[in-house]
Symmetry: C2
Subunit: 210 residues, 2 copies
């Protein structure tokens, strides 16, 4: 076995993708609380895994209580929260894994920062930029507020939560998202199918057998 | 296709490992500058990829200039640097990827923090803790100083680098590392073989055909 080991000082992303038989990219879900971001992202993640692709979802549960547990909710900390998520998603995508992020990420500037990070190349690198795909989970706020699975809109209306996106803090909708899904009009299943079709059409994942 | 999509609110790590056909864990390399950490970790990463396993190495190149670019070299920032690397390695391992980290990480307390993070369970989780494997890359400092590929020891001796590990700042050697490799006595290839054999013996990767 030993004699078969050869290696290079470092792998290019193209070489890694070839060995991993897939390419990495980031699907950045953004939308109001209760828009369905996490539901759709979770379903999509599992669908991709069932297709034999490596995929991983970053969300509040595994980030806010770990990597970002030192951050609060000031403007500065919110921006740093999104910056770190962007950097970690980029690492996953660089590793040939499909990174999915599901955070409200209400501010255009923060999402643009995450996009810019993905476009940045390491010094001397010949790698292509990592694809960054913004997925706008669009839903009328009335629908989100009616769903309100965690009672957060109710608390926000009662003034118990300050700076709640859509109520007392703005949600800056994406102007040119790569993908828009409307969870008030389509089922979770249909949304997943639409995203998968988009990824296939772009050649980011292999075309599935019909 | 659509009708085949089913999903759960979230995946357990065991379910994810089953879909990914491998389990994640962290190999935490520690050792002096020029000990061979990155060389061995890079060779091992590529060997694992050639075995068909997902593996990814976190190092100064992809972390210091990205996620941790806001950190300097104060004691506080060095500890935060290692904490974040520990959290990100844990995310990769949680995603069923083998995470390799190659940082000097000279202080026991910092490495213990990274180990502790891996042992921590999310609230309500039934997942097993993520294996954390400390790999001590042991080399006499005289050998490391003679190698000095980047001329850092020379600069440290000349007083041009402050707090250089092994010269003007301590290296706290691991007391009970899971694996010790001695790069002054064995080739990179032999070190990789030894680590792979250890991982196979522990059942962390499938036994390779001999």
């Amino acid at each position: 076995m030993a004699t078969n080991i050869t290696w290079h000082p470092s792998l290019s992303r193209a070489e890694r993708n070839s060995l991993r038989k897939q390419q990495g990219f980031t699907l950045w879900f953004t939308g109001l609380s209760a828009s369905g971001k996490s539901t759709v992202a979770t379903a999509l993640e599992q669908h991709l895994l069932h297709l034999g692709l490596a995929a991983y979802r970053l969300d509040g549960d595994n980030v806010r209580f770990g990597l970002n547990k030192d951050l609060g909710f000031s403007d500065k900390d919110r921006t740093e929260n999104i910056r770190r998520i962007g950097e970690v998603a980029k690492l996953f995508a660089d590793s040939s894994t499909i990174a999915l992020t599901s955070f409200i990420s209400p501010f255009k500037a923060d999402r643009e920062l995450a996009r810019t990070l993905h476009a940045a190349k390491a010094a001397g690198s010949t790698d292509e930029p990592i694809p960054f795909i913004e997925v706008y989970v669009e839903v009328p706020i009335e629908v989100a507020e009616q769903r309100d699975p965690k009672g957060l809109y109710k608390k926000a209306r009662a003034g118990e939560i300050k700076e709640f996106t859509g109520i007392s803090s703005p949600y800056e909708a994406p102007e040119n998202p790569e993908i828009t899904i409307r969870t008030a009009e389509k089922s979770v299943e249909e949304c997943v199918v639409d995203i998968v079709a988009w990824l296939e059409a772009k050649g980011l994942i292999p075309a599935s057998s019909k």
